[in-house]
Symmetry: C2
Subunit: 361 residues, 2 copies
DNA sequence: TTGTATGCGTTATCAC
DNA sequence: GTGATAACGCATACAA
């Protein structure tokens, strides 16, 4: 007895206004000046008397004139637009950087466009890239970098190879996590790696077809190195099998966690290279009847929203991603406007202690 | 005893190549033809002999020429670029639509740019909009629509007012959820609304400053209407207080759930207008010692990733958002290429039964 | 301080 | 089938 389904009234056909196409020449005529003067007014050039300026401004308002940025770009003018180049703007990492960047851009009165560069993009995207005052690369791969022929003059990159890299101190952050576990008294600490070159082939084929996943970033190796160093500095041996490979996905994290917990002498704590892995590990542990954190402590890395959704909530290392996004935009604006600049390029992480860790029992 | 923090090696200064800036004229000269012929070759015009075409193609390859889309746009050429207009590309709803759109665009050999239109955007964004073959508005507000002066010729909008709206059957979807609860035997069913005009003022001020939240969409009212109709059709009265206002946030959802569960005769089931609200309701119930679903069944709407993260996993109504995104792109491409078109505009939802619902006890 | 001439790189139009 | 010419709308450089 299904109720009758009622559709939304739908289209009210709120059509866009017809293109006025008013040019600078018409404004000039209306104001009784030359097109050049109008241009000067638009671009806030100092060499125009207040009187004229006002007359032009009035004419602009009267005709509801708007500059044609295409023409402006072709003629060599500057734009107040920044392009963010990334393949998957919805990934948590990218999303956070993007959010920070968007906020800062708004403050600086710049616009943001997100260019989703695929494996074989049309040249149009390159044009937008050239149109913009600068580009912000988020997690670019090397292929990606080389594939984009027309980067604007100013480029910064977040978390990846490329010019003017911004990012967090992965080694230091991982040390924070390890020292938290060590100071709680853990000695049997397992580690699940992030994306290493070795697991590249495991990436599903249909993903590879659409995107560029060549991952030669430093984050995963740095976190692993910190794990080794911290264990060593604490005078601890790393038992065989205590380092399990994975990529940054939850599925791979679960597989790694299973291997870890199936060891003869399983760890009492796991340091996962990212939150997704950590959540997976918690899930695996719980489904084996282990209580977290009493019987297994878990630390993640990232502090993504999922860290708060999990039960128990996740102890993790926060990356200040939105701050990084904002800093990237500031840097870009500084370069575009020719300001003096001296921004930090490596950001500190912060250990966020929640419910997934405690002393070993 | 902090370990020495080691920074990533940082910049390898992988600079972009210097701009070649090779023009169509140079190619023409090298090929010994006129610029016009080169243009014809580039645009696959039929009126050029194979022989000539090959010569031009070779010249293009030799000079590694690439069209300047800015100039092309100024001259009135067509582009293979679609712009997605949205304010917050990272919201789950937008992200899913975007993902579907991106996939489809790649299939169709179109590029996607995401324009983050803010309250006061530069005109540059409008230019990009004009540069593109079509625009996909995701959850546009009416203000948003009016504010964007330069929409391209072809526009579709997903979930919101605007030309050529695409979206789900909110009424039908809500009926699915209600009938699931009713068929389980629930009679005391509470409802938590989505964003109604009434709660608009509760939106934090700093959010309002940056974004456009005027929400005159039909989704929330439609779901409420379905709730009322289903209750009525089942011969059930709606007790006082069984409809609680909220917006689409988890926080507001928790507040509403608290009110609901504090009633003298609390419901045995809650239908929440979205997953975030549902998750909040589950959390509130559990922290009051109620077990879900045994003592309280909860149904959401959306089927966002969080639906799987929650404990118990969430029964909810799935919106085929990525399909909608893909359909939107197909529609846009069809319009741009002047294909015959007859796409469906309202998509069916799907009830996904998971662990958060059961018979009342 | 204001106006004029010229060019940006491409496509449309319309001759040839 | 091919090519000369004229826009497209603005900014730079320079002249008035």
């Amino acid at each position: 007895m299904a109720l009758k389904t009622c559709h939304t009234p739908a289209s009210e056909n709120l059509r866009a206004e017809s293109k006025p196409k008013v040019t600078i020449a018409e404004v000039a005529q209306k104001a009784g000046v030359s097109p050049m003067t109008v241009s000067n007014v638009i671009n806030n050039k100092p060499n125009v008397r207040p009187h004229m300026r006002q007359r032009v401004l009035d004419a602009i308002a009267a005709t509801s004139y708007r500059v044609n940025p295409v023409a402006r770009a072709l003629a060599g003018g500057k734009s107040r637009m920044l392009s963010v180049i990334t393949q998957q703007p919805h990934l948590p990492y990218v999303a956070e950087v993007l959010t920070g960047a968007a906020h800062e851009a708004q403050k600086q009165n710049y616009d943001l466009v997100v260019l989703m560069f695929g494996r074989r993009s049309q040249s149009d995207l390159a044009a937008i890239s050239r149109l913009s005052a600068g580009a912000l690369l988020i997690q670019p791969s090397r292929e990606n970098l080389l594939g984009i022929a027309d980067l604007p003059e100013h480029v910064v990159s977040v978390d990846g190879p490329g010019p003017r890299p911004l990012g967090v101190d992965n080694y230091g952050g991982a040390c924070q996590a390890m020292q938290h576990l060590l100071s709680l008294g853990h000695t049997r600490i397992g580690f699940i790696t992030g994306l290493q070159a070795a697991v590249y082939d495991q990436t599903p084929k249909h993903v590879l077809e659409n995107y560029d996943y060549t991952y030669d970033h430093k984050d995963a190796p740095e976190r692993l190195r910190a794990y080794r160093d911290c264990m060593k500095a604490a005078g601890l041996q790393i038992p065989h099998g205590y380092i399990q490979d994975s990529d940054y996905s939850r599925a791979a994290g679960e597989r790694a966690a299973k291997r870890l917990l199936s060891l003869k002498d399983p760890p009492t704590a796991i340091f996962a290279s990212c939150d997704a892995i950590a959540i997976g590990a918690i899930h695996v542990a719980q489904s084996r009847g282990l209580s977290v954190p009493q019987q297994l402590s878990v630390v993640g890395f990232d502090d993504f929203p999922v860290a708060l959704q999990s039960h128990p909530t996740l102890t993790t290392v926060r990356q200040p991603l939105s701050e990084i996004g904002a800093a990237a935009v500031r840097l870009l604006v500084a370069m575009a406007e020719d300001w003096p600049q001296q921004e930090p390029q490596v950001f500190p992480t912060e250990l966020v202690v929640r419910e997934s860790t405690c002393r070993p029992t």
